[in-house]
Symmetry: C2
Subunit: 232 residues, 2 copies
């Protein structure tokens, strides 16, 4: 793989080209840090076709079998979106909000963020080994190291869970990480301008009602602490 | 409007029906608390059609002129998505992550979240008064009260900004806000189970390089403080 993102016309960033991030390593770093993906699928056909966008967990494997690495999504084998996602191309967008950009004018208000857009035709993961590996990645994306502390998945669980893989080849990334860009005439207005940084943080783990007594494993404490440190 | 959500077949929640939120007031409260929307549009036609999902700021007005109230998105008049969004139905999904749900099995790992899905045909907001009102709502969604502290928008700024309105009538909402639901056989395994709460918090405002000396207005301090309090 090239180390730079080479978007096709479908993932070419058309607006805000100065915010397009062409370094593939930055995409990979971002995928490791985010938590929620939005899956866009087309439902219906012809004039009745409309998109549906669903939030979902995800995992990824840069050494996965798909071009550019594999982005994994999972769901119930009975989920309606699953069949539709396999029939047509989908779009998966992963976004993290990093700040509110307060300018001197409403027009120049903005957000600092990182966002990756991946388009492609998903592949149904049929190999049970790859499916289990993908589910481990999805769990560990939320709580790194968690999967290894759990009992193995059962055959029944694996049979009930569908996993799709999307190649990371056709991906683009945008990021804004700067202060407000005001019109020169507004700078001396006396209005404050700057950024309110936004962080996603984790609070102390809340033990389930039926689990009193069992202390959280190190991986859980670490996941909760990492978040709390992020605002200090 | 009915006070309950009455989804059409398009917004009917098909999976996890126990997580569908039918109280319209809860949708409205959630819209007031979230910050980022994901807009799904269809690009191309026939076999080449594919969805594109883009992150964006938003605002909303329950007394807006659209059925159920108006969800507003804005962008440059030159943005490629704009024309496409007006030609076909779109889907706007707004999600906030509230927690990582750690169960005793990978299978039962989950996320706590709130998510609203709105489907419909957007209307281009042509009235300049409504357009300015919508832009004020978008800015105040980020920093409540900010718009009133700014100079008025100029005619040039309003002419460069396109606003679309989506009726909130065809909306559904899902929320998960509970601990893990484990298989009975796993509960005595000794594995910790519970929730790592996740919050989006704001840090202290960072003044722009060209604005040293100007103190942040109360609305900015309030927006930054509200976030910081959320983790205490």
């Amino acid at each position: 793989m090239s180390t730079t993102l080479s978007p096709t016309p479908r993932t070419q960033v058309s607006r805000g080209k100065n915010r397009a991030v062409t370094d593939r390593e930055r995409l990979h770093t971002f995928l490791g840090e985010a938590l929620v993906a939005h899956l866009g699928i087309i439902v219906g056909s012809g004039g009745d076709a409309h998109p549906v966008v669903l939030p979902t967990a995800y995992g990824f494997d840069l050494d996965g079998p798909d071009a550019g690495g594999s982005l994994y999504l999972h769901g119930s084998v009975a989920a309606g979106w699953l069949a539709r996602a396999l029939e047509r191309d989908v779009c998966v967008t992963i976004t993290e909000l990093d700040g509110l950009v307060a300018a001197r004018s409403g027009f120049h208000h903005s957000m600092n963020y990182r966002s990756a857009v991946v388009i492609g035709r998903p592949r149904l993961v049929e190999d049970s080994g790859e499916r289990e590996h993908a589910l481990a990645l999805v769990v560990d994306q939320m709580i790194p190291g968690r999967w290894a502390t759990l009992r193995p998945a059962t055959r029944k669980e694996l049979a009930a869970t569908a996993v799709i893989a999307l190649p990371l080849a056709e991906a683009s990334m945008k990021a804004r990480a700067e202060g407000p860009v005001d019109d020169p005439a507004d700078i001396d207005s006396g209005t404050w301008a700057g950024v309110i940084p936004i962080h996603r943080v984790a609070a102390a783990p809340v033990t389930a009602d039926d689990a009193e007594g069992a202390p959280p494993e190190d991986v859980v404490r670490r996941a909760a602490q990492l978040g709390a440190e992020a605002i200090s």
